[in-house]
């Protein structure tokens, strides 16, 4: 991503609610929250080099932990959120220490099982989570520093700030020493070990950061939807995140955001019924991997190169 892209993206995203309808603001917020979650998946796919079918579990844990702290203990959103994030990172560290030793399909299967366990606990721990009926009537975040988040637009801006800050932090991360060590481990784990890089520590750190970002999406989900239910956190949600990353472009940070926008708006534009979504995701995944393995971002870059070449040849 070049230097202008991020500020330009911020300006456009910040200006949009001023000119569109309330329903569009809802869709934009949905896009932004999906983008945060896709960003977390982008880190796993692109920088740890693993497919995590259990990523949604981190979202679910953060969503439920923060909301339960608010509903049961009367904590404000601003206190519940960091506690929930700490819980998610702690769980990611424990889970990562076990699962990141596993390679390829074993990691995928165990993480899938982990996510299912989390979902089943949520669905069956009636007295705490209210089971399949879920938690209802989740209030918007309490006002802080005199800013109220009661309106849809205000909440949108909150989500946007979270996205932009996460994006900026992750951009710094991937260019940092830690980021390069992650890439080194992803590229050649055996060589990385020869070079003396502590591989497990790198991978666990990567997964914890990714879980933190997923958790940021999670804490926004409750106040945004006002309802949390186990049915929101199935395997398909993890798959959606993967599709967003792949459609946008693996190994980039702009990719997941483009993918999230694409996959939130396409079903809307086509007015697809919700139950077609998994099928649609599958089709999109097949089409993209066959015809644009670098994602939309790869297509854009290719297009830019072609334009440059034609401009040069034209002279």
């Amino acid at each position: 991503m070049n230097k202008l892209a991020l500020p330009l993206f911020m300006i456009v995203m910040a200006a949009l609610p001023q000119v569109v309808s309330e329903y569009q603001v809802y869709l934009l917020t949905l896009t932004v929250i999906w983008a945060i979650m896709a960003l977390s998946m982008g880190l796993v796919l692109g920088y740890i080099g693993q497919i995590n079918l259990g990523q949604i579990a981190f979202v679910a844990i953060a969503a439920y932990a923060s909301t339960l702290l608010r509903l049961n203990f009367g904590l404000s959103f601003w206190l519940a959120a960091p506690i929930a994030l700490a819980v998610v990172v702690g769980i990611a560290a424990i889970v990562g220490l076990i699962t990141l030793r596993l390679r390829g399909p074993f990691f995928i299967l165990v993480m899938l099982a982990f996510a299912e366990i989390v979902r089943l606990i949520i669905a069956n721990w009636q007295e705490v989570t209210n089971g399949p009926l879920g938690l209802r009537g989740i209030a918007p975040p309490e006002p802080i520093f005199g800013v109220s988040f009661a309106s849809k637009t205000a909440f949108y801006y909150l989500a946007l700030v979270v996205l932009v800050v996460s994006l900026a932090a992750l951009l710094r991360l991937v260019r940092s020493k830690t980021g390069r060590m992650l890439v080194a481990v992803r590229e050649d784990e055996i060589l990385a070990e020869f070079v003396g890089i502590p591989i497990m520590r790198q991978k666990v750190t990567g997964l914890c950061i990714s879980a933190f970002v997923a958790g940021l999406g999670g804490i926004l989900l409750g106040p945004f939807l006002t309802i949390l239910a186990p049915s929101q956190f199935t395997l398909f949600a993890s798959v959606d995140m993967i599709v967003m990353v792949v459609v946008g472009g693996v190994g980039t940070l702009a990719g997941p955001i483009i993918g999230a926008a694409f996959l939130t708006y396409i079903p809307e534009l086509l007015s697809f019924a919700n139950h077609f979504r998994p099928i649609l995701m599958g089709v999109v995944l097949i089409v993209v991997t066959l015809f644009a393995p670098q994602g939309i971002l790869g297509l854009l870059r290719g297009f830019k190169r072609t334009l440059a070449r034609e401009a040069r040849d034209g002279q």
Partner: protein
Amino acid sequence: MLEIRDLEAAYGPIVALHGVNLTIAEGEAITVIGANGAGKSTLLKTICGILKPRSGEIRFEGKPTIGLSSARMVQSGVALVPEGRHVFPQLTVRENLDLGAYYRRDHAAVRADLEAALDTFPILRERLSQPGGSLSGGQQQMLAIARAMMSRPRLLMLDEPSLGLAPAIVQQLGRIIQELNRGGATILLVEQNARMALRLAHRAYVLATGRVTRTGTGQELLDDPAVKASYLGGHSGT
């Protein structure tokens, strides 16, 4: 500096080292020669903590090292240039070099070491911002050695650095390894290219099916008829 006693290592049921004894004094250049499957790479992997031996003892600067991770070994001053796998292809030359010094906090000294490495390998200076994968085989090998030097190792181990390189490059590498040794680095060189290795080594070990079968100075082994027949391809040199 390095003492190895009765080292036994195995991959599951397959024993690769049967009681290897080897010592390296500070400032020495030692070479281990042997055919494919003799246990040369296994020996290096065991020294640098990637493979846990079955039994035996390894001491580096007097301290036992068995059980330490490869990360700890690098930090305590042992660096390995692995065989075949050389560089991280998608990272730039600069990033590859930085990874060699990833744990160091003495940033000024790291910069000085980077300069020294780039003086030793001027070709890398020209390619600093190119991806490691775009370098030629010989350049990648130089990058791998330079990266190992970035951890400022007191013991530098090289696993078949000449593998797959043109003779002229091999000669150049031999000179560089010798220079590094004269500059104070202790070298453990594992080679199939026995002639180059024996010429630059103070002492050498011959490894065959996991055992040390001969040892002596580089020159002694170069003159040894048995070594000549097995490892130097008779009388004609390569």
